[in-house]
């Protein structure tokens, strides 16, 4: 009897606290990447689920699941939390629905700047921004009398100095794991050099040029200052390197700053970990970094009722002032009411320095894939920069032909 009472009380409390989320039916199933800010976001939307079914899949393998799962009809997921790059395959295959009507109906608290519009239609609602920027160890730099680097040339000089002093053998770290991560570093550095990936207005590759060579040479210099196992290191691995005190300068995602600066691990390292904006390279004035947004999209192959329920729950989180105040440390929220803290320096600096967003082009995924495997041999010293870039272009062209882009 008491149990029933308690349950009833809970139910009553639950519904009265979120009276604006009066979702009567429908089923919500979300696919998302796995990092703290996204977990917070999804948890917040769950508070608003009302009577709807609520399921979520957090997976770092989300990219591999998304297209097949959303192609099915009805699709497995009703919503997919996507980013600049991962929305593209969904758009290419026509798997997500325009949100204009839903935004009008339920999107009261969502700011206009959060809306991702393509051809005049709202395709996603963004809620956080992300980029890769510099992290540095204040204590080490101070000891050695090194100023906080602003360019990658300074990063190289500083790392060489630290190595020469014998303090650290591998003072620099970045996620250079062969595949997606390594390609992402190339994309950043190439954009920093002012490069354009494709000849304007076409899908013809445009990386085998002086800018491409300069990009590769810089990546190589940095890799030589990194742990020799760099080709197997992803973001998580270099985070561990940092926390064990092996690294003094690092390029890493802004969304990881929360876990670097939490109470776990050596307090001395945590205390000396400081954030700076992304570095520029080759005398350019835009940062060698790309801006990313994370936002939600709704599956096309799902009933309107489910889309309704899903949108209302997610919109609740995407306009939640309490969430962004409570979790101000976890991300740079694009939601109204967010007050940037010290952990958001990286993104804010990147925006101020006019960093470019990651190119949202239908064929960019193929280029990214080709980069990830074809530049490895250059870094290993097995082929020239020109040959590597030629290989990237050739690999890309074959794939683009098969996909009908060329």
């Amino acid at each position: 009897m008491r149990k029933i009472l308690v349950t009833l009380l809970f139910l009553f409390f639950g519904t009265s606290a979120f009276a604006d989320c009066n979702i009567k039916s429908g089923s919500i199933n979300i696919l998302a990447n796995d990092f703290p800010a996204l977990r917070t976001f999804v948890e917040t939307s769950k508070q608003c689920k009302g009577n709807a079914d609520f399921k979520v899949t957090h997976s770092s393998e989300h990219n591999k699941i998304a297209v097949p799962a959303l192609t099915a009809n009805p699709s497995e997921f009703s919503a997919r939390i996507a980013a600049n790059s991962s929305i593209v395959p969904l758009m290419n295959q026509d798997l997500i629905r325009p949100l204009d009507d839903l935004v009008k109906k339920y999107g009261k608290g969502i700011q206009d700047s959060q809306l991702i519009t393509i051809d005049g239609k709202v395709m996603a609602v963004a809620f956080m921004a992300n980029t890769q920027h510099l992290y540095y160890r204040e204590d080490i730099l101070k000891d050695m009398g090194i100023a906080v680097p602003k360019t990658y040339e300074e990063v190289v000089a500083a790392s060489e100095k630290i190595r020469a002093s014998g303090k650290m053998q591998h003072p620099y770290a970045a996620a250079y794991k062969a595949g997606w991560n390594l390609a992402e570093e190339f994309v950043n550095m190439f954009i920093g050099h002012g490069g354009e990936f494709f000849k304007s207005g076409s899908a013809e590759p445009n990386i085998n040029n002086a800018k491409g060579v300069a990009t590769l040479n810089m990546l190589k210099k940095l890799s030589e200052l990194s742990n020799p196992d760099y080709l197997t290191h992803d973001s998580e691995a270099i985070k561990v390197e940092w926390e064990s005190g092996n690294v003094a300068l690092m390029t890493l995602w802004a969304s990881r700053s929360g876990t670097l600066l939490d109470d776990e691990g050596d307090p001395n390292i945590t205390k000396a970990t400081k954030l700076a904006g992304p570095a520029t390279v080759g005398g350019g004035n835009i940062p060698a970094a790309t801006l990313w947004w994370d936002g939600f999209t709704l599956a096309k192959n799902r009933s309107d009722a489910d889309a309704d329920a899903t949108f209302r729950a997610l919109a609740h989180a995407a306009s939640n002032k309490k969430m962004v105040a409570d979790a101000a440390d976890q991300a740079v929220w694009l939601v109204e009411g967010f007050v940037p803290g010290p952990k958001s320096i990286g993104v804010i600096e990147a925006v101020k320095m006019k960093a470019k967003p990651y190119p949202m082009l239908p064929q960019m995924g193929l280029m990214h894939g080709a980069l990830g495997s074809e530049i490895v041999e250059f870094l290993q010293g097995k082929e020239s920069a020109e040959q590597a870039l030629k290989d990237v272009e050739a690999a890309y062209i074959s794939k683009a032909k098969e996909q009908g882009f060329l």
């Binding site: 991702i116 062969a178 020799p228 196992d229 197997t232 801006l291 967003p357 894939g369 098969e402 009908g404």
Partner: protein, 342 residues
């Protein structure tokens, strides 16, 4: 067994094989001859929190019309097979005409993704299969010779590598050879080179994966050989001992001929398994230095944000052909022996 009984006995398995193996292979084969339709793109305005730009998107309305008319895609014949990411016919012709020495030509060819993967796959097969057979046989012989009382625990210990999930097994070794792991750090100390890394050197990565492969596959060979050794008749062995044959001579002239069919069987299975090497590459995060044919298929299907079904299908079919070629000599030999035996 009368043919009729055999037929009914085999029917369920046969049906399942057609349904779950035969048909998918046929469908893969068909898929490999098709490419995606030409993409119809249009210029549109895109706005995100960082500003607006004009750029291109796929025109879904137009595309869906073409897709409905021809859902398989554009017929491409052997186009996918011969493109640069597969057999690279044109590229090889070009290299042949342009390069001056044979070694430069080989350099160029082995830089192509398919040949790079093929060379690793074949190297892996060539080193792992014979060593697995040899090691498995030696272990089986030694275990057959130890006292019965300790044989049980020893057998269990020996087949442990096979019980451990391949991915877990490779991950354990992966962490051990890390430059801060127990093996990696010790090798650095031994060589007195703080920049030495087993994972960044291509040759060392290959050696690691091959050693792992031998470690992982030997128990299978051992189990089969050990079972076969139990069937070796004792009379000829005893007769040989009386005639003064050495241990080596007994193995060579009595044991080996007796278990020969089993050796063929293990060699066949090993070759097939090794040609499809995949898990250790993922486990060791060795994509940078070592790619196998199976890894290429995986890469086409999941590593890109755009899935390349045609490419993956073409590589799959070529893998099947590759296995058939590798197995052909053994199969032909078995067939001949079978005919003689009848």
């Amino acid at each position: 067994m009368p043919n009729k009984t055999f037929f009914w006995f085999f029917l369920p398995t046969g049906l399942a094989m057609i349904l779950f193996i035969g048909l998918p292979i046929i469908s893969t084969g068909i898929q490999s001859f098709y490419a995606q339709h030409d993409q119809i793109v249009k210029e549109v305005k895109k706005c995100d929190p960082f500003g607006c730009t004009v750029s291109i998107v796929v025109d879904n309305e137009e595309t869906s019309k073409i897709r409905e008319a021809k859902p398989l895609g554009k017929f491409n014949g052997f186009g996918t097979y011969t493109d640069r990411n597969h057999l690279a016919v044109d590229e090889i012709k070009k290299f042949w005409n342009e390069t001056e020495s044979v070694s430069a030509f080989i350099d160029q060819v082995t830089n192509l993704p398919f040949y790079k993967a093929l060379i690793f796959t074949l190297t892996y097969c060539l080193f792992v299969t014979p060593n697995v057979l040899l090691l498995g046989f030696i272990i089986a012989l030694s275990l057959n010779a130890v006292a019965r009382r300790i044989r049980g625990p020893l057998i269990f210990g020996t087949i442990l590598p096979m019980i451990v999930t391949p991915l877990v097994g490779s991950l354990v070794l992966f962490w051990m050879i890390d430059s801060q792991g127990i093996i990696g750090a010790n090798i650095q100390n031994l060589m007195n080179d703080p920049y030495l890394s087993l994972k960044s050197s291509k040759t060392l990565t290959w050696i690691t994966i091959i050693i792992y492969g031998i470690w992982h596959h030997s128990p299978f060979a051992f189990v089969v050989f050990y079972a076969a050794l139990q069937t070796v008749p004792q009379e000829p062995v005893e007769a040989a001992i009386i005639d003064g044959a050495s241990r080596f001579q007994r193995i060579k002239h009595i044991v080996l001929p007796h278990i020969y069919p089993v050796v063929t069987f293990v060699a066949l299975i090993s070759l097939m398994d090794n040609f499809r090497v995949f898990e250790p590459i993922i486990g060791f995060s060795a994509e940078g230095s070592a790619q196998s044919l199976s890894w290429l298929i995986y890469d086409n299907l999941v590593n890109e944000e755009v899935i390349l079904f045609g490419s993956a299908a073409a590589t799959s079919i070529m893998t099947i052909v590759g296995i058939a070629i590798l197995l052909a000599p053994v199969l032909i030999r078995t067939w001949k022996e079978f005919r003689i035996a009848r």
